[in-house]
């Protein structure tokens, strides 16, 4: 036993040193957000929510898994989360020792790897994304050492994967997938083609998968019971089942952003991996080696993570996988080089210089704040937090609130004004999403703290219910924030919610970038409020609407739904003049009203526009991408801000009157398919 410990003293040393480092970070880290961006607001809100009696998934939206919540309420989980980083680094170190078969080179590459993570990835990102690298390397080490894993070992791996899923569920899913792939490829790489027994392979694979998933499910049972006890089980399942919606509202073009150095670095390394894997599988007699196996697994992880990167850029979070692959390639290169040179000094110098070149030469983006220890690190805070059996989350939130109030005087002004109102019950709703107000008012925020995550209709309905249930009389409307993300106007991203707000609330006061909206006492009209004249750009943004591709796609895909039972054509004409004559004589309201226009010869013009005027002399312009020739352009008037409130149509005009071949107004009662 003693000999074994002595033999592995470097491994033990790595575990102890990284554990102490991780302990410092966990117990003495308080991230002070200097600038309240969308991301930092969300992170700070979650930090705040963890200190309340509210539960993730049950009471508020939280996409990262339970460990970050549990570690803030229980010291055992804080210690478990503290273990993630040391365990990851230790597994990496063990792997590097196995890879290099030389202590000196494994130390150099391990030091280089720690530095890379520290400078380019950030320790908190590594603490999350590094989990699946750690599990992949563990699988590689296990499956290379034991050709056939015992049932007990597979069952235990299942349990571990179940626990990872509970704690950080996306990493848990990747880890499960990587283990399944390990089980599939391990016998294939090991086998001799002539002796390969397909039936034995498949029966063994199915049996192993069954044992593995039994382990996963058993690990999930206590978690399900816990979720049930805190009332978050339904929320967790619903959150998981609607995760696909994130891609629908978060997707942005990938190839526009592929030009970053981080992306190019990762893609080149992936291509090199393909070359290596293909050539090795073709030409090597002994394919079951730790290098090939780990390269395949890390390549699979990168491919999985790239699918996420294609939806929404996470390029800087992927480079530490690529760098690890480079270390494996270098180790392979050095095996060849050793045949030609025995000089250790040349090989060591070359090794160090290659790492330095990657660090300094290729232009990867370093982290903004590179600190070995947290900014406000002190031993007293560690001792204090250990004595109080918790991390310093509450104190940290308070420090942030103080810092935000000091640097943003308008928040205090808004709070003072709100408190001066008789109707103010201590609660507001922040639109489109400045959750800092909930923290300042010590208020339980809505399930979704910003409209970005609330893009789906069911989420908007939940927010409206929150405003109603909390009897909120005031809305703090950030009128400068016209598109919370991706240039999509807020009034289109969350139309149902926006419509509810503009119909039921009216501007009362303008403070800095915010309008304070008060619940209407009578049938007030948002667009006739005088305060709107103080914010002309905002008013213009609501009256000059850009629907971009929506009328075109609605016409292309959904024209057929106009003919559903219950929907009726109110009028159809072959020109706008004819329609205007009809409108003069008839009373057509905009409630449930769809405008359907067919154009001809619009190929030259990328955009079209129409102007709609109401009987009360309000006007709105609508811009849209030109529709296909002789295909309907479909406009749901109720989703245009001016028509959130039902108005009477008076006149329509277009910049392309002569191109209109047909224009119709529909009364649509069944709007389940149409936007």
């Amino acid at each position: 036993m003693k000999n074994k410990l002595l033999k592995n003293k470097d491994i033990i040393m790595v575990l102890i040193v990284t554990f102490i480092w991780s302990l410092f970070i966990s117990f003495a880290s308080c991230n002070i957000y200097t600038h309240l961006s969308f991301d930092s607001s969300e992170l700070l809100t979650w930090d705040y929510l963890f200190t309340t009696k509210l539960f993730p998934y049950g009471d508020y939206y939280y996409p990262y898994g339970f460990i970050y919540y549990l570690k803030s309420i229980n010291i055992i989980f804080l210690l478990i989360s503290t273990l993630i980083i040391p365990v990851s680094f230790t597994v990496i170190f063990i792997f590097l020792k196995k890879l290099w078969k030389s202590s000196l080179f494994s130390y150099i590459s391990f030091a280089a790897y720690i530095l890379f993570v520290f400078i380019f990835t950030g320790i908190s990102t590594f603490g999350r994304y590094g989990i699946v690298l750690t599990t992949a390397l563990s699988y590689a080490l296990l499956l290379i050492k034991n050709k056939n894993l015992s049932k007990k070992a597979i069952f235990l791996i299942g349990i571990v994967n179940g626990i990872i899923f509970i704690f950080v569920y996306d990493q848990g899913l990747y880890s499960i997938l990587v283990f399944i792939i390990s089980l599939i490829i391990s016998p294939l790489l090991r086998s001799d083609n002539h002796k390969f027994k397909k039936i034995k392979y498949f029966t063994s694979l199915v049996r192993n998968l069954l044992i593995f998933f039994t382990g996963v499910i058993i690990a999930l049972i206590p978690f399900a019971i816990y979720l049930l006890s805190i009332g978050s089980l339904a929320g967790f399942i619903s959150n998981f089942s609607t995760a696909g919606d994130i891609a629908k509202y978060a997707k942005t073009p990938f190839f526009h952003s592929i030009k970053t150095v981080d992306n190019i670095f990762t893609i080149i390394v992936m291509l090199f991996s393909i070359l290596y894997i293909t050539a090795t599988i073709y030409f090597r007699k002994h394919k079951q080696n730790i290098q090939l196996f780990s390269i395949i697994l890390i390549f699979v992880i990168l491919l999985l993570l790239q699918q996420k990167n294609i939806i929404r850029s996470i390029d800087t979070q992927l480079t530490f996988y690529s760098f690890f692959l480079i270390i494996i390639f270098i180790s392979q290169g050095f095996i060849i080089l050793r045949k030609y040179t025995q000089s250790v000094s040349i090989l060591v110098s070359l090794n160090i210089l290659i790492y330095l070149s990657i660090f300094l030469g290729i232009g990867l983006k370093p982290q903004n704040n590179i600190n070995f220890l947290p900014n406000n690190f002190s031993f007293q805070s560690i001792i204090y937090n250990l004595m109080n059996a918790k991390g310093e989350s509450k104190e940290c939130v308070n420090k942030n609130i103080k810092s935000i109030l000091d640097s943003n005087k308008e928040y205090a002004s808004i709070l003072n004004i709100l408190k001066s109102y008789n109707n103010f019950n201590g609660k507001i709703y922040s639109y489109p999403g400045d959750p800092i107000f909930y923290l300042l008012l010590n208020q339980s925020p809505p399930y979704y703290s910003a409209i970005y995550q609330a893009s789906p209709l069911y989420a908007q309905v939940k927010l409206i219910k929150y405003i109603q249930d909390q009897e909120i009389n005031y809305i703090v409307y950030n009128y400068k924030n016209l598109a919370i993300q991706d240039e999509v106007p807020n009034y289109l991203r969350a139309t149902t919610l926006h419509s509810y707000i503009l119909v039921n609330f009216s501007p009362k006061e303008k403070v800095d970038n915010y309008l304070i909206l008060e619940r209407n006492k009578k049938n007030d009209d948002f667009f006739k409020n005088k305060i709107l004249d103080k914010v002309p750009v905002f008013k213009q943004s609501l009256l000059q609407v850009n629907l971009e591709n929506i009328p075109k796609s609605e016409g292309y895909y959904k024209e057929k739904y106009l003919f559903s039972q219950g929907n009726t054509t109110l009028v159809t004409k072959d020109s706008l003049d004819a329609l205007n004559s009809y409108l003069e004589k008839n009373f057509i309201t905009t409630k449930n009203t769809f405008l359907v226009i067919i154009f001809k010869d619009l190929k030259q013009k990328k955009y079209g526009s129409i102007t709609l005027q109401t009987k009360d002399k309000l006007t709105t312009d609508v811009r849209f991408v030109s529709c296909e020739e002789q295909t309907s352009c479909v406009f749901n008037l109720s989703r245009i801000p001016l028509f959130y409130k039902s108005r009477v149509l008076n006149n329509l005009s277009s910049d392309n009157n002569e191109a209109i071949t047909n224009v119709g107004i529909w009364d649509v009662t069944d709007n389940s398919h149409l936007w």
Binding site: D245, A247, K248, Y249, A250, K251, P253, F254, F255, L271, F272, I274, L275, T278, A279, F283, L303, Q307, I310, G333, I336, L337, Y340, T341, S343, I346, S349, L350, L353, I354, L356, S357, I358, L360, G361, I362, G363, S455, P456, L457, Y458, D486, E487, V488, L492, R493, T495, T496, E548, N549, I550, K552, S553, E554, Y556, Y557, K558, S672, H673, W675
Partner: protein, 133 residues
């Protein structure tokens, strides 16, 4: 011979790194990247036949990528445009009419194409490569 090349390479790389530390410049960074690329080239030269196969594969793949790049917009126009679903989600893709899974298809195709090209190139040169080995 290899020892000499490596010593020269170490001196060159050290010089470039020091130069980059003193005065970070795009030109120096470019030279460092080229120097780094020299390493796989060196290994490739140790097995010339395999190296030629790889160069051919990579060239063919790059040509395919350029062709794909030129036709990217046209292909994107052909791809099915997104529609607003029952959950009424309006994000970037629905608003600007960007085909949601098009990027994923193209990206994965680029990798699959690379694998196919390498496999075909190796297959076609299998006997020569075996002799070289």
């Amino acid at each position: 011979m290899i020892n000499r090349i490596l010593k020269f390479y170490i001196v060159l790389l050290s010089f470039l790194i020091i130069l980059n530390l003193i005065q970070p410049m795009l030109l120096i960074k470019g030279m460092i990247i080229i120097s780094l690329l020299f390493i796989p080239i060196l290994f490739g030269l140790l097995n010339k036949r395999l190296f030629i196969v790889l160069v051919k594969s990579i060239s063919l793949w790059l040509l395919s990528i350029i062709a794909l790049g030129i036709g990217f917009r046209a292909l994107r126009e052909l791809a099915q445009q997104p529609q607003i679903d029952a959950n009424k989600i309006v994000g970037y893709v629905q608003y600007f009419g960007y085909p949601i899974y098009f990027d994923s298809l193209v990206f994965n195709f680029i990798f699959i194409l690379f694998i196919i090209i390498i496999l075909v190139a190796i297959r076609m040169n299998l006997s020569k490569l075996a002799n070289e080995k």
